[in-house]
């Protein structure tokens, strides 16, 4: 900061080129969030009109209770995808931690120890995958695809394919079933995770580097940042988030099943992408992810309340993903210079 001379105008362009932002500019700059917000509102309005029970407090709380695992893992996945990676193993980690927590509780371990052990397991699995991705430079898709297979296999091997019950008197089940201040505990856990994720993503150097790595990893490395550790760390986050989701699921269902979370990774990725996070990395928002996850959850819930086949859920979700991204490309393009 010692440059004292004023050597002419570098990068000069006529002044007053940028006018004050109007709401329209803001909308275009945040096109991805705006388009998913519109979809979310439309979906909510439609279900409020065609069903009587959708827009009731118990139902809305039920939605957030049920979508807590999705919200928590999607928040972590936003970091992974924004950094230019992908984690396909989250559903398998969820199943492994759900079954192992039931097994360990059955073996008589106290519940806080079980929770800590599962979080450590999720972190360890994430660190191992992150090591192969960040330090050995194997594509994330391949590493976590292998992880998806291996980790699910371990869960099946432990349980022999049966689901392991959790003693209903154990305090552990409160993590999934209890209410606190009129709100389900899983929803509160999700809220805490989302607030932390929002702050970390937008207000910390770590979040800045995650975005930067997705945009230009070499530039961030040249700026003196340990990009390999950052890459490894996002997989630790997704592993731990999956463990939290597995604990919540086992506690809510009162059992740990090795078949839990089949296809969960695709729901998570759908929620994140729906929220406007770019699969190419460099662009992501936590707000968008929350809206994306809630949209996916609301569709599933609303179709059931409307007495329509639950099998319509994947069809509608898939269609909305395509249309939302298409709108984002078409309506809101021009937000950036193409280069």
């Amino acid at each position: 900061m010692n440059v004292t001379s004023s050597p002419g105008n570098i990068g000069a362009s006529p002044p007053k080129r940028a006018h004050n932002s109007t709401w329209k500019d803001v909308a275009i700059a945040n096109g991805s969030v705006v388009s998913i917000a519109l979809f979310f509102i439309v979906v909510c309005v439609v279900f409020s009109l065609i069903t009587n029970s959708f827009l009731t407090t118990p139902n809305l709380l039920n939605i957030v209770r049920q979508s807590a695992p999705l919200l928590i893992v999607a928040a972590a996945m936003t970091f992974v995808i924004t950094a230019g990676g992908i984690d396909l193993s989250v559903g398998s980690v969820l199943a492994l931690t759900a079954t192992l927590s039931a097994v360990l509780l059955q073996a008589g371990l106290p519940w806080p120890l079980v929770v800590i052990a599962m979080l450590a397991l999720g972190a360890a699995v994430g660190a191992l995958q992150g090591f192969f991705i960040a330090y050995e430079r194997i594509p994330a898709f391949i590493v976590t695809l292998a992880g998806l297979s291996v980790i699910r296999g371990v869960a099946l091997l432990i349980t022999g394919g049966y689901s392991i019950p959790v003693e209903p008197t154990s305090f552990f089940v409160n993590i999934g079933r209890a209410w606190f201040l009129g709100v389900p505990v899983p929803a509160l856990l999700a809220l805490v995770v989302l607030i932390i994720a929002y702050l970390a993503f937008n207000q910390t150097p770590f979040g800045r580097y995650v975005t930067g790595i997705g945009a230009n990893a070499e530039a961030v490395r040249r700026a003196g940042v340990d990009t390999r550790f950052m890459m490894l760390f996002v997989y630790i986050l997704s592993g731990m988030a999956s463990a939290v989701a597995g604990i919540i699921l086992a506690a809510r269902l009162g059992s740990g099943s090795s078949n839990a979370g089949q296809g969960f990774e695709l729901d998570v990725i759908a929620a994140v992408v729906l929220g406007g996070t770019s699969l190419f990395g460099g662009r992501g928002t936590i707000i968008g992810t929350v809206l994306g996850a809630l949209t996916v959850a609301v569709i599933g819930n609303g179709l059931i309340l409307a007495h329509m086949s639950p099998f319509l859920t994947p069809i509608v979700t898939g269609t909305i993903i395509l249309v939302a991204i298409w709108l984002n490309f078409r309506l809101f393009k021009g937000a950036t210079r193409s280069r």
Binding site: G8, N9, I10, A12, A223
Partner: protein, 266 residues
């Protein structure tokens, strides 16, 4: 300017780097005094960029030693070089398109405020200081919250230069800093080089615009196929000689033969 040949800001000796079968750098040396501006020239693939990346820590050489202010250093990452106050403007600008102007300027050294020991970005300070820096360098960018992808090529290049020049470097390496700039902007960059070197910053300038070298450099070092081939004080050479040194012996030999043939004609 220091004319004393004893104290060097940078002393690189015997630097070699091999990428597979290609010997990109072969026993290259580079010396730089405080406040000196060195023009590093050579054909494409001569090793200029690799040599400068060795000094900025982005490339780790297979062999060779680097001394800065007489002390031996061994850079294993760009962070080490930054700590030794070596800054570089990369040819590809090294910007993150989806990060805003302030974020790019402060990339890797964001002002932080700690809450409960957790580092948070001090966004207000970052944007205020960015505004000051841009104004001081005369860079016209309306909003420091604009993402870099929304800027013109010249503005992007200005940010890359501003970033390297603004954090009190002792060595400033500029790899093709004027490639995307208009005439007036090139003048501004050359002024900037003069200004920082007058303050004692050593500058390495890599450029294909040979006329620029003669405006700001004290010395020119020519590389050819990964080796040093010549070094000239700026007063002792001419554009013609530098061109011949850059394109190498083949060209010199052919033109020499042509003139010999002419001479032999009558």
């Amino acid at each position: 300017m220091m004319s004393d040949g004893e104290t060097y800001r940078v002393r690189m000796t015997g630097i070699s780097k091999r990428y597979g079968p290609i010997q990109t750098l072969d026993d290259v040396s580079l010396n730089l005094k405080p406040g000196e501006v060195l023009g590093l020239v050579g054909d494409n693939g001569a090793g200029k960029s690799t040599l400068s990346k060795v000094l900025s820590g982005a490339v780790i050489p297979d062999s060779g030693t680097i001394e800065i202010d007489g002390k031996g250093v061994s850079f294993s990452s760009p962070a080490d070089a930054r700590a030794a106050r070596v800054e570089m403007v990369y040819q590809d600008l090294s910007l993150c398109d989806t990060v805003d102007v302030a974020g790019n300027l402060f990339l890797g050294r964001e002002p932080r405020s700690h809450v409960l020991g957790i580092p948070f970005l001090d966004n207000k300070r970052m944007h205020d200081e960015t505004r000051e820096m841009l104004d001081r360098l005369g860079i016209v960018i309306a909003d420091t919250r604009l993402k870099v992808e929304n800027l013109s090529g010249g503005q992007r290049q200005s940010i890359a230069i501003g970033r390297a020049a603004s954090f009190d470097p002792s060595v400033l390496i500029m790899d093709e800093p004027t490639a995307a700039l208009a005439v007036a902007e090139v003048e501004a960059v050359l002024d900037l080089i003069r200004a920082v070197s007058a303050r004692g910053v050593s500058v390495i300038l890599i450029t294909h615009r040979l006329q620029d070298l003669f405006l700001v450099c004290d010395r020119i070092q020519v590389m050819y196929e990964g080796r040093n081939v010549a070094e000239r004080k700026i007063g002792d050479t001419s554009i013609e000689e530098v061109v011949n040194l850059i394109v190498g012996r083949k060209f010199v030999a052919r033109s020499a033969r042509a003139s010999r043939d002419e001479a032999a004609q009558p």
